[in-house]
């Protein structure tokens, strides 16, 4: 019996367990399976059993400390079992699109423009945050396998990324985030209020770290962008804000939706593949969020709309 046969059988009986049901298009004709052997449910179980035994005989691929080489390839280091940390610092003179990072330092004491922050902003107490996840569905089964944070320091904007190289690294990732969060920090994200933060909160609760992010002040620049530019921009995606407000065009960017697949490939094969591009994409998202803040802080607001 071959595995393909088993898969075909299960697929015929019900929607495949690995996919969402796709209704067949109208008018599609009946496809009857070819003649051949088939199995009852019990038989199916017996065959599943064979698959398992075969699986046990076949040695699982073993990678000699893959994290070490992966960490090196990504320019970082393994900081805990299953967790790689990558640190990059961009000097204040660095221009992200048309915006020098220096402008971020200049929002000191600001609360204006589209940000409408309740308190004067201390740019050194902002923690920019962005995640890459295994999916957009949310719920307990979605994991943030990569977390990037950025903070303004005297040297420039310091980007810190934690990549889970195994599920065992998740607790360490959450603990790194807790350590990176200063007492009075304000989180800054793009769409984090409805996505990244609830997701991280879920992960924290699953590991008994309730309240890691609860009650944190949080500036979600998506909301500020909507307030200022809803009528002027075709949409309020980060990509649109980058081209229209930052004059940035990303070169060779790996689209975010490919990130989960790249990470799954890593888990399955132990090959780094395009993980470096996933990290670069995440860094770009962080930089754009950081560059967008001073731009939105400068918007003169009148009747809820930016005036140019």
């Amino acid at each position: 019996m071959d595995y393909i046969e088993l898969r075909r059988r299960l697929a015929q009986t019900a929607p495949a367990p690995w996919s969402e049901p796709a209704p067949s298009p109208p008018g599609s004709s009946a496809s009857l399976p070819g003649q051949g052997r088939s199995q009852s449910t019990l038989d199916l179980l017996r065959r599943l059993e064979q698959v398992r035994r075969r699986g046990e005989q076949r040695p699982r691929p073993v990678f000699p400390s893959p994290e070490v080489s992966l960490a090196e390839r990504l320019g970082g280091k393994e900081v805990a079992p299953g967790l790689v940390e990558v640190v990059r610092v961009h000097p204040l003179a660095y221009r992200h699109g048309a915006v020098p990072l220096r402008r971020l330092a200049q929002v000191d004491g600001d609360r204006g423009g589209a940000l409408r922050h309740p308190h004067p902003i201390d740019p050194h107490k902002l923690l920019f945050l962005d995640t890459e996840t295994t999916g957009l569905a949310g719920g307990a089964g979605t994991v943030a396998f990569l977390l990037g944070v950025a903070r303004l320091t005297d040297a420039g904007l310091e980007l810190r990324q934690w990549l889970m190289t195994a599920f065992a690294g998740e607790v360490a990732l959450l603990d790194r985030l807790a350590a990176a969060l200063g007492e009075e920090d304000c989180l800054v994200s793009f769409n984090g209020k409805s996505f990244d933060i609830p997701l991280l909160d879920t992960r924290a609760r699953l590991h008994g770290r309730d309240g890691l992010l609860r009650g944190r002040p949080h500036l979600d620049l998506l909301h500020a962008l909507r307030r200022a530019h809803r009528r002027r921009l075709p949409d309020c995606r980060l990509k649109t804000a980058e081209t229209e407000l930052l004059e940035l065009r990303r070169a060779d960017d790996l689209p975010g939706e490919f990130a989960p697949g790249v990470w799954r490939d890593w888990l399955r094969t132990g090959r780094a593949g395009r993980l470096n591009e996933v990290l670069a994409h995440n860094r770009d998202d962080l930089l754009s969020t950081a560059a967008l803040l001073p731009v939105l802080a400068r918007e003169e607001m009148r009747w809820g709309m930016a005036v140019r």
Partner: protein
């Protein structure tokens, strides 16, 4: 069939039978019996039963006792007291007592006690949203009466997003349904952490509804719930309530996977109840055709309403509900300026519309409600006097549940079962003792059905990684997880399996049916875009094809366009004087046979089959006259399924000896299939729809369907006619398990194969009709004989061949045609 029954024909003599004293069910019953002794084939009375009560237990929180006193309750019914005692002793409890015996106090009391004593929280699960709303109302009244401060909150699809957080964090009693638990709560359990950490009681009402596929899914949802509760350090206690079924304890234990104490003796009082079995009069003795149940039911409903009795009418199909409502509205709601006295209530209406109707029923502002099984469950609609069943509901348990709708609160009540023309109904009309004497059905589930289990295994893995040594059902967990791992859904790391797919598996699993996605019906008349209702996936192909008349509150709309992938049907208002009925064909192919019994001419076997169902067209049927006024074609995707089945096939040579033509043999097959299908449903204690039937050639080359006259014709799946004499001819009669992968019905039926054939033969032979009728071989019209045989004779000949002998053929073939 129904073409003979015209409303103008005064079958009931309405004017005469009108009882003098308004609001008296006994008077109505007496009038019916006096006037129509021949139509009443059985009468059954249940005497009034006094209450048996017990004092409130000493340990009950005085605030709860005060709340009960505030609602006039100073003693409990004996079953309530026992259930409370068992629950407080930490046992899982199932309460199975009749409709309206005060079951809900059996769980409200321990839940409130736990809440007041140490803040324990509870989850209430009702199979429908309507029921949930109702129980919250009752709980709130108790709460108010005693100032208990319990916060009962509903969490379902109608709960607005901004209110959900409050429910999670503040709800002492969260009222929800299985689908919401499955798709909305368990996959998001970390948000519900504080709830799960303090969860003590899980209440499952309407337990009897969790049968078959739905129940098997539910048992797996409970496995997930228990698994998540353990993660938060809790082992919740279950309190379940059921209407009367044969095996409440067994079902409860299968559902929650733990021993359960059963409370089955009701201490509630009950008013006297009279139940009549009503068989419509024969209007055509040659064809054994009776007046339609529908027109008789409409008559009885008119009588009851005119007598000032509040009346509920149950019908088995949505279409019948709409047609009956129209008939009654034509009488009682002619003046549109007056508030309606008659209303339809069924699934598919929007929630607000249903709530409004429930309210009007409770307030007594409606005289008559026509419904499907939607009101069989415990929605509180207040006291009703008369319950009419248009046709046997398909099970004894459902019959009593429906009859229990009338006669609440100690009032005498009248129930009438109006027998339909089909086989089971006529069987019951001939053997009413079956209804009144027999035990109600056993409810069965198969929580370990592999496909269902795999569905929930994915959901469970999404919710929490699996660790080695965990148990989830009886199969080797490691094997099943390994299978999901090989498909890239799970990733194994050391001794745990993590979900890594980019999907939300609960969305792909529907607890109620195989395929997911309700269809939205959108009214686009005059350029508007109003949502009119919803139709579930299973019914969509049969009711929403382009050209179909969609009835909503007895008013017709026509389906203009069906967007199958988008799950939308666009309809416009029409004045059509007809309704539509779908024609569907089933093609079936045997994949594998597990066991065979080869007789002289017939072979019976069971195994696996591939089933393709297609709606090929529809008929237009005029109101009242039931004339067929046209046909239309339908182009819809096929419904495909791989399942288990049992089948009989006959040797071609033997068939040729027994039947003068292949056509006659086909008639025999179709008639035998009709009888066997019904007999098998009874034998397996399942509902008719749980089994499918098909007559074909076993390799999906052709299938036989009944033509407009009820006689057999060969069709390709595309609906094109074939000449039976030009085909390879090895017909196969198949009964299949109507669920992908099978729910285990086929193998036991195979073991009873001789019995099934014998009983089907008796059933057809004993039927008083002359040449075949819906009560034996299915609806047959037109020529009484074809090729020398009536449809009935052909079916008997065929059943005799299936029974194994050739010699009996001559018996059933008086013409001796060879």
């Amino acid at each position: 069939m129904e073409a003979w029954s015209r409303p103008e024909l005064d079958l009931l003599g309405e004017a005469d039978a009108d009882p003098r004293r308004a609001g008296d069910t006994a008077a109505l019953a007496a009038a019916l019996k006096r006037k129509y002794p021949a139509r009443i084939v059985a009468e059954f009375t249940q005497p009034a039963r006094p209450a048996r009560t017990a004092p409130l237990p000493a340990g009950l929180d005085p605030r709860i006792a005060a709340a009960l006193a505030g609602r006039g309750i100073r003693r409990l019914y004996s079953h309530q007291a026992l259930a409370l005692e068992l629950a407080l002793a930490g046992r899982h409890v199932v309460v199975a007592t009749p409709t309206a015996s005060g079951k809900s106090l059996c769980y409200h009391l321990p839940v409130l006690q736990g809440l007041l004593a140490d803040g324990a929280r509870a989850l209430y699960l009702f199979p429908t949203k309507a029921l949930a709303q109702d129980q919250v109302a009752e709980l709130l009244e108790l709460n108010k009466a005693g100032g208990l401060g319990a916060r009962a909150m509903t969490f379902d699809g109608d709960t607005p997003a901004d209110a959900r957080k409050a429910v999670r964090e503040q709800g002492d009693i969260v009222v929800s349904n299985p689908d919401m638990l499955h798709q909305g709560i368990l996959p998001h359990h970390p948000r519900w952490a504080s709830f799960f950490e303090t969860l003590r009681y899980v209440v499952i009402d309407e337990l009897h509804g969790y049968r078959g596929v739905f129940g098997s899914h539910m048992a797996n949802v409970i496995r997930r719930l228990k698994r998540i509760s353990r993660f938060y350090g809790r082992e919740p206690q279950f309190i379940l309530c059921s209407a009367t079924i044969a095996n409440p304890k067994e079902l409860a234990e299968a559902l929650i996977g733990a021993p359960v104490e059963a409370v089955t003796e009701s201490g509630a009082p009950q008013g006297p109840r009279t139940v009549l079995v009503w068989n419509p009069p024969v209007v055509n003795p040659d064809l054994n055709l009776r007046a339609s149940a529908r027109s008789q039911t409409a008559r009885l409903a008119r009588l009851a309403v005119k007598a000032g009795l509040s009346t509920i009418v149950f019908a088995n199909a949505r279409l019948t509900v709409e047609v009956l409502t129209k008939y009654l509205k034509d009488v009682f709601d002619r003046d549109p300026r007056r508030p309606a006295r008659v209303a339809a209530y069924r699934g598919g209406y929007l929630p607000g519309e249903r709530r409004e109707k429930e309210k009007r029923m409770r307030a007594g502002n409606l005289d008559c409600v026509v419904t499907t099984s939607a009101l069989e469950l415990g929605v509180d609609i207040g006291a009703l006097d008369v319950c009419l069943l248009n046709g046997y509901p398909g099970s004894i348990a459902a019959t009593w549940q429906r009859l229990g709708r009338a006669g609440r609160r100690n009032k005498p009540s009248l129930g009438v079962l109006v027998a339909g023309s089909d086989l089971l109904d006529q069987f019951l009309a001939r053997h009413p003792d079956f209804l009144f004497g027999a035990s109600p059905e056993h409810a069965r589930i198969d929580p370990d059905q592999l496909l269902i289990l795999m569905d929930h295994l994915r959901c469970a893995a999404f919710e929490l990684p699996f660790r080695a040594g965990e148990v989830f059902g009886p199969h080797s967990l490691q094997t099943l997880l390994g299978y999901l791992e090989e498909h890239g859904v799970l990733h194994r790391e050391g001794d745990s399996w993590h979900w890594i797919a980019d999907s939300y598996p609960a969305h792909a699993v529907s607890l109620r049916s195989v395929a997911d996605g309700n269809f939205t019906v959108i009214d686009v008349t005059d350029g508007k875009q109003d949502i009119l209702g919803e139709v579930d996936y299973g019914a969509a192909a049969l009711t929403l094809y382009e050209g179909a008349i969609y009835l909503h509150q007895a008013r017709p709309w026509q389906v203009e366009r069906l967007d199958w992938t988008g799950r939308k049907a666009f309809v416009t208002r029409t004045r059509a004087d007809y309704y539509t009925d779908a024609i569907d064909t089933t093609r079936l192919k045997v994949l594998d046979s597990f066991q065979q019994d080869r007789g002289a001419a017939a072979t019976c076997a069971h195994g696996e089959v591939h089933v393709v169902r297609r709606v090929a067209g529809y008929k237009k049927i005029r109101y009242y006259s039931h004339e067929n006024v046209g046909y239309g074609n339908v182009n819809l995707p096929d419904q495909e399924m791989h399942t288990t089945a049992l089948w009989w096939s006959l040797d071609e040579a033997a068939l040729e000896r027994a039947f003068a033509s292949r056509q006659a043999a086909l008639d025999g097959f179709l008639g035998a299939a009709h009888a066997l299908h019904h007999v098998a449903a009874l034998a397996s204690m399942s509902e008719l729809r749980d089994l499918g039937r098909a007559v074909g050639d076993g390799t999906a080359g052709w299938s036989a369907v009944q033509d407009a006259g009820g006689r057999g014709s060969l069709r390709t799946l595309e609906g094109a006619a074939l000449d039976p004499d030009a085909q390879r001819f090895r017909p196969t009669l198949t009964l299949y398990d109507n669920y992908p992968g099978g729910m285990g019905l086929a193998a036991p039926l195979f073991d009873q194969r001789s019995d099934l054939v014998a009983r089907a033969h008796d059933l057809v032979a004993d039927c008083p009709c002359q040449s075949g009728c819906p009560a034996c071989v299915g609806p047959v019209l037109g020529e009484a004989e074809r090729f020398g045989l009536t449809a009935k004779q052909a079916a008997l000949a065929l059943l005799a061949m299936l029974a194994g002998g050739h010699q009996s053929n001559s018996e059933a073939n008086p013409h001796g045609l060879h």
